[in-house]
Assembly symmetry: C2
DNA sequence: ATTACTTATCGTAATATTGCGATATAAGAT
DNA sequence: ATCTTATATCGCAATATTACGATAAGTAAT
């Protein structure tokens, strides 16, 4: 096998899983933190900042873009990446709802 | 290759990535939702609720347990699973800090 | 047009994940 | 002791991910 049975699950379950999966990698977390902290959007300074090969960074950026979490704009030779606010908010809501549905029953098993 | 270069990243980046990775699967999201909604902790009713084989569910539970997100207590023949509140809170904080560090600069590139 | 620079893509190797049948383990009931 | 039930583990096949060197594709400057 090796393929997730998405048919079985709800749209929201799949959506949240996809968004989380895109973020669930230390390199992609680091990339997002860089993009956020360099208020204006940075480009391929990422290759220098993190210690990964250019091809690897480019691949991670592609995954974040595919998930809709970031957006890339061509600016001459460089490409400027920034957060896609819509997806960011959507993820915050989905994850917040999910995590918030749990209240510690203090003492269970 | 195929192995993540964890040495390069901070402890918190790796920690958050590991926790998110454990959750970033629709089946595991569904499992957690079941555990939460069946206030007292449920057991292998999960196999019936979700449409996955017993071996598959057991494997997903193992991953959630390894990540410290749930906890299993043996109760006779059955095993009772419930959320591990410490990890849950930790994840909420890490993710909240991460997501909250972004403020829409409205208009970037 | 040639050069320099930035980013994307291709191909590949190593490893991880997903799912499941089969089987093992363990506890309760008969 | 044997049977039943519940869960875990093993082994396997299919697929996905991670990382990178090599190379392509695009733009800017000379």
């Amino acid at each position: 096998m090796g393929l997730t049975k998405t048919e079985i699950f709800s749209k929201e379950q799949n959506e949240l899983a996809l968004l989380l999966k895109a973020i669930a990698h230390p390199a992609r977390i680091a990339i997002l933190q860089q993009i956020i902290s360099a208020k204006a959007c940075i480009c391929g300074d990422l290759v220098e900042e993190l210690g990964l090969a250019q091809a690897t960074i480019s691949q991670h950026l592609k995954e974040l873009k595919n998930a809709g979490i970031i957006q890339g704009t061509i600016e001459g030779v460089k490409v400027c990446y920034c957060i896609e606010p819509g997806t960011w908010n959507r993820l915050q809501k989905l994850f917040g709802d999910f995590m918030g549905s749990y209240v510690d029953p203090n003492g269970c098993c």
